[in-house]
Symmetry: C2
């Protein structure tokens, strides 16, 4: 191989490494920030429904439907925020316990429960039935708690 070929080959190798790095996806810190953002938006939309359920503010069916739609969307956005290698070993500020990755099937099942109940909440919310919404809100909140209890540090 002459010098030009070596240079070209190194160049191509460099390029492919760079492409692989890009294709490899986000850094652990970015993944953690992403999942924390998803949780923030879930909480932001959960809170006003909770206030209505408790009777602290007047019931507003249209507002509930909108908030529930965001909770559903966010429930489906969570999984990609828990990619392998984004746990407390790699990330400074995270409440995610290492058990998420060591007991992945159990965690994933709890995440699915949340997604299912959040999807039902969005469906029920479209109907506007206050009693049904209250009941389904309770079920959805239970799936949050069930997962936090085992997989989130206090």
């Amino acid at each position: 191989m002459n010098k030009l070929c070596i240079s070209l080959a190194s160049g191509l190798l460099g390029l492919s490494v760079l492409t692989a790095a890009n294709a490899a996806g986000p850094k652990p810190e970015d993944t953690a920030e992403y999942r924390q953002s998803v949780f923030t938006i879930i909480g932001w939309n959960f809170k006003p429904i909770g206030a209505m359920v408790k009777g602290e503010v007047p019931f507003d069916a249209a507002a509930v439907a909108r908030h529930a739609q965001y909770i559903e969307m966010m429930s489906k956005a969570l999984l990609e925020g828990f990619s392998k290698g984004s746990g407390p070993d790699a990330v400074k500020h995270t409440e995610a316990k290492p058990e998420i990755w060591t007991n992945w099937d159990q965690f994933n099942s709890k995440l699915n429960n949340f997604e299912q109940e959040a999807t039902k909440l969005a469906e029920v919310a479209k109907g506007g039935d206050e009693g049904a919404i209250k009941a389904q809100f309770g079920k959805t909140a239970e799936t949050c708690k069930a997962c936090h209890k085992e997989f989130r540090t206090d």
Copy 2:
């Protein structure tokens, strides 16, 4: 008014103040955290489309459609993250300039532009036409830049 009445009246007044506080909505810090989370999720979904547009990773129409749907949803979630009183006067860590609230109509118009282009991006993405997606992605990114230039600190 006898003592019992005064006590009852104060109690009710206290309750109504409490309810008003709850009804008044989130604290400025929470609002800022919310909007920053919305931007994080927009960025998270923008990046992989950008990588495809640049040819860094293979084009994946289904992935683009999913990401674009999230960008659209988040574009519609931004406005409530800029409520009055959640600017740098009230919040420690924010890149939001005070001009957002002093030039509200202009800011709101730029936010609307982003929402419109993001909605179009989600529509175009459903079609799966790579060229159309690239063009619409560029237009959407322009509306981001236009707003950041005037209303975000560097």
